[in-house]
């Protein structure tokens, strides 16, 4: 068990009568990447704003490296590197001057700043455009400069709002590598993204928010379990003629009414079940005993998009029924 760098406890935020965040509790350990997802208006940005000192919670606490984000907001700012979804550019400013300004704002001594700027540009893969004007950079280049700015004061935690937004596929792959590399260097990262496969690949833990509430939190596998206790099993057969017999055996062993689908062309049988491992092993044993040509008997992994849609779909149906009723 590592040390929790970011700790959020019962965090709530109200704007008038609108509840933007409802008793959010989670923690992120050192060197971990937390993927923060949810539909628009779920409360992700509100949480981030509270962490970086741009908003005050109505209730609850948030700490970074043990420092309270509300009462010691000034100290926390030195511990956090924040990359918002907008770049925040200045006209007539070159990349090196831009970083120099933020370095001076964080009171990094002049000599050290020169070294740090070169270092972070190198890490972000932006060394080649340090003399270019900020307003003339492409979107991908800006994202790199934004990451360099975020790293400049060597924060313990990085909070990135949509870092892969608008990037082309090669740039996205590089961004993924960069995030993993930063986590390997001991940085704690909180990343939001609408490109869910991106998050699934790099995040150690995922938090799914909807309507200000934490709907699921944990590793990808844990989330799949939380959101859906039933899992999808797949039986692959060597011979197509065995499909009908396999369907019959599976249906007999499952709870009545369980939907079993079969594909003769794929020579596959699929079903959703909440049965435990032991009971599943009995089904496999019976299939083998009956002479079915089983080549694979496996669980189909729930991906992040499916998990997200379970939450988002639930939310939209709730919203529809609320609107109708």
């Amino acid at each position: 068990m590592g040390t929790a760098v970011v700790e959020i406890n019962g965090l709530s935020k109200k704007y008038g009568s609108f509840l933007a965040l409802d008793e959010l509790t989670l923690s992120v350990e050192r060197g971990q990447i937390l993927g923060f997802i949810g539909p628009n208006g779920a409360g992700k940005t509100t949480t981030i704003k509270i962490l970086v000192g741009l908003a005050r919670p109505t209730a609850g606490t948030a700490t970074v490296a043990g420092i309270d984000c509300v009462s010691q907001a000034r100290r926390v700012k030195r511990l956090i590197g924040y990359m918002p979804d907008t770049f925040g550019s200045y006209d007539n400013m070159r990349v090196r001057e831009y970083l120099d300004f933020f370095g001076a704002a964080f009171r990094i001594p002049r000599k050290e700043r020169v070294r740090r700027i070169d270092e972070v540009l190198e890490v972000a893969g932006a060394s080649t455009f340090k003399d270019l004007f900020v307003e003339g950079l492409s979107h991908g280049m800006r994202q790199r400069v934004a990451i360099a700015r975020t790293l400049l004061h060597d924060p313990v935690a990085l909070i990135m709002d949509e870092p892969a937004n608008g990037l082309d596929p090669p740039a996205r792959i590089e961004m993924r590598r960069l995030l993993v590399d930063l986590a390997d260097r001991g940085k704690t990262l909180i990343v939001t993204s609408h490109i869910l496969p991106e998050l699934a690949r790099v995040c150690h833990r995922i938090a799914i928010l909807a309507k200000g509430k934490l709907r699921a939190y944990g590793t990808m596998e844990e989330i799949a379990r939380q959101l859906n206790p039933q899992r999808t099993m797949e039986v692959l057969l060597a011979r197509r003629e065995d499909v009908a017999r396999a369907v019959e055996i599976v249906q007999r062993k499952l709870e009545p009414g369980t939907d079993v689908t079969a594909s003769t062309t794929e020579a596959a049988v699929r079903f959703r079940t909440a049965l435990a491992e032991e009971e599943l092993s009995r089904i496999l044993a019976e299939l083998v005993a009956a002479g079915a040509s089983v080549t694979q008997f496996r669980e189909v992994q729930t991906d992040l998009e499916a998990a997200f849609m379970t939450v988002a779909g639930g939310e939209s149906s709730t919203a529809t029924s609320e609107a109708n009723g």
Binding site: T86, D91, A104, F106, R110, F129
Partner: protein, 551 residues
């Protein structure tokens, strides 16, 4: 009907600013007529009252047109470019000419609406008797219509070439001031000269709408030292206004037709990487080369101030230095010419000229420096980033204000040599020069604070710039309208009260300029300005803290 005309008009009329402009103009005109409306059953048979009202009415309308109208054409095309809708328009089957005429039509329509709002007051002025419709009020409106066309085409030309709305606004207002005032300077210097030179300066003078309006309201002798040019000022202005409008329109249509969005990104060439010869040449030309590799910001310097000096489009070091050098040269030249006896001006006229030169520079320069201090950060999304740094709201505000105040003080210092020459010639003028200097410093501080306060109140720099210009013109220049109507329709007491809020009038009074010396404006004006500056500082601090603090 051109679809852009309708869209432009509807978009304009939906803004609160447009509504405020209409109401303000109408209210001011009505108030003016009410002041001189006959009371106690006494009727003015010779029409003197009516002419008095028409005079101030004419000045007011011209000032309204000069300061309200340019804001709309200045932002019309560049705003489309910034929003990305210009590409959509150019991609439509509409020709560049149709787009241009649509934009121009919308602005002219809005200006017509503004002028219509003043018609009831004009009608009342006519009802007072003594002012004919065809040669008086009707002609005044015709000239104002021409002025609107001239300013609108000029604004659209600037707008088609500018990169940002605030740049376009600054440049347009500077050009409007140049068109209205500069053509009068050669005439003032060479009035009465016969031959080609006299004819030329007489024609140049008619580029400005001011002489034409003065002619209509029966004030053509004002500023001419008793010498009426005796020329057809109105006819010449009509020819020149239509001519310049046509040239501006053609240039703008040509710009719209030649792929205005086809621009490359800046390459980012550093002077340090160029040859020694090029580096030396650039050093000579720029003094402070904007493309040199700058030093890292020192920790003893406010980083926000250093950043402001490096980034803002207007007011970067090399331009500021050039402006300061030019001001110093102008100021010295004016004093030296007068001292050498080339002009038969007394020290009052020279001091008055210097005050007006400094005021124009301050009024043009100050809002450009300060009206984007906070709004530009909010527009660009960098305000949020500043809030996540350990910089406090106070540090940010101090850095920003210092970045605007220092160049202005330098600018004032640059125009001071003129006073030093005057003091050297006549040491008794020293206390007078000191009072003028205090008035100008107060005006500079006030101008910066107005711009900064507007930038904290408005989200867009363009709106903040327009608001700052309007407030400054309203406080510094508009009270002079009452001075123009001194003795009639306004009495001495009224004029003195109104002038006491204007720092320009106070500076002219301090310099003993003819027409201002007899009013007692100091130290009342310092108290008024001090109170307004204090109020603006409080507003600025409260707004900055509110914008900085967590939501």
């Amino acid at each position: 009907m051109n679809p852009i005309v309708r869209r432009e008009l509807v978009e304009l009329l939906r803004t609160r600013g447009a509504l405020a402009a209409q109401i303000a103009l109408a209210a001011a005109c009505i108030l003016l007529v009410l002041v001189r409306w006959p009371t106690g059953g006494v009727s003015d048979l010779n029409g003197a009252r009516s002419m008095q009202v028409l005079r101030v009415f004419g000045y007011g309308l011209l000032a309204g047109i000069l300061f309200l109208v340019p804001a709309y054409p200045a932002s019309a095309i560049v705003r489309e470019r910034v929003r990305g809708t210009l590409a959509l328009l150019l991609n439509s089957p509409m020709s560049a000419t149709s787009i241009y005429l649509g934009k121009l039509g919308g602005i002219l329509g809005f200006a017509a609406l503004l002028l219509t709002m003043t018609l009831p007051a004009a009608g009342a002025c006519y009802a007072l008797g003594g002012v004919p419709v065809s040669g008086g009020i009707g002609l005044l409106y015709a000239i104002l219509g021409l002025a609107v066309l001239q300013l609108a085409t000029l604004g659209l030309l600037v707008s088609s070439r500018a990169d940002s709305v605030d740049t376009s606004l600054r440049l347009t207002y500077s050009l409007v001031l140049a068109v209205a005032v500069l053509p009068l300077v050669p005439y003032a210097l060479f009035e009465g000269k016969a031959g080609g030179l006299g004819e030329l300066v007489s024609w140049i003078r008619c580029l400005s709408p001011i002489p034409a309006v003065l002619e209509v309201i029966g004030q053509s002798g004002r500023g001419a030292h008793g010498m009426d040019a005796g020329t057809d000022v109105i006819g010449r202005y009509a020819i020149l206004a239509l001519g310049t409008s046509w040239v501006c329109a053609m240039a703008t249509i040509a710009r719209l037709s030649s792929a205005p969005l086809d621009r490359s990104r800046p390459a980012g060439v550093m002077t340090d990487d160029l040859s020694i010869g090029t580096r030396a040449a650039r050093r000579m030309f720029f003094l402070v080369d904007p493309n040199r590799r700058s030093r890292n910001i020192s920790l003893i310097v406010n980083p926000v101030m250093a950043k402001e000096f490096r980034t803002r489009r207007f007011g970067r070091s090399h331009w500021t230095l050039r402006l300061i050098a030019l001001s110093a040269l102008l100021s010295l030249a004016l004093s030296c010419i007068a001292a050498a006896g080339a002009l038969e001006w007394g020290h009052e006229e020279i001091a008055g000229g210097l005050v007006i030169l400094q005021t124009i520079l301050l009024l043009l320069f100050a809002p450009s420096l300060s009206a984007g201090l906070i709004s530009s950060e909010r527009e660009g999304g960098s305000w949020q980033l500043l809030r996540t740094t350990p910089l406090s709201a106070g540090t940010i505000l101090r850095g920003k204000l210092a970045s605007a105040i220092f160049p202005l003080l330098l600018l004032l210092c640059a125009t001071m040599p003129g006073y030093l020459v005057m003091i050297a010639i006549d040491p008794q003028l020293s206390p007078q020069a000191q009072r003028v200097a205090v008035c100008l410093v107060v005006m500079a501080l006030f101008a910066v604070l107005v711009g900064a306060a507007a930038s904290s109140l408005f989200r867009s720099t363009a709106s903040a710039t327009v608001a700052a210009y309007l407030v400054l013109v309203g406080i510094c220049v508009a009270p002079l309208l009452a001075w123009l109507g001194r003795d009639a329709p306004f009495g001495r007491g009224t004029v003195e009260s109104v002038l006491s809020i204007s720092p320009l009038a106070a500076a002219l009074h301090a310099s003993q300029t003819r027409g201002f010396a007899e009013y007692e404006l100091l130290p009342v004006n310092w108290w008024v300005m001090g109170a307004m500056c204090l109020g603006l500082i409080v507003l600025l601090v409260v707004r900055t803290r509110r914008l900085y603090r967590p939501e």
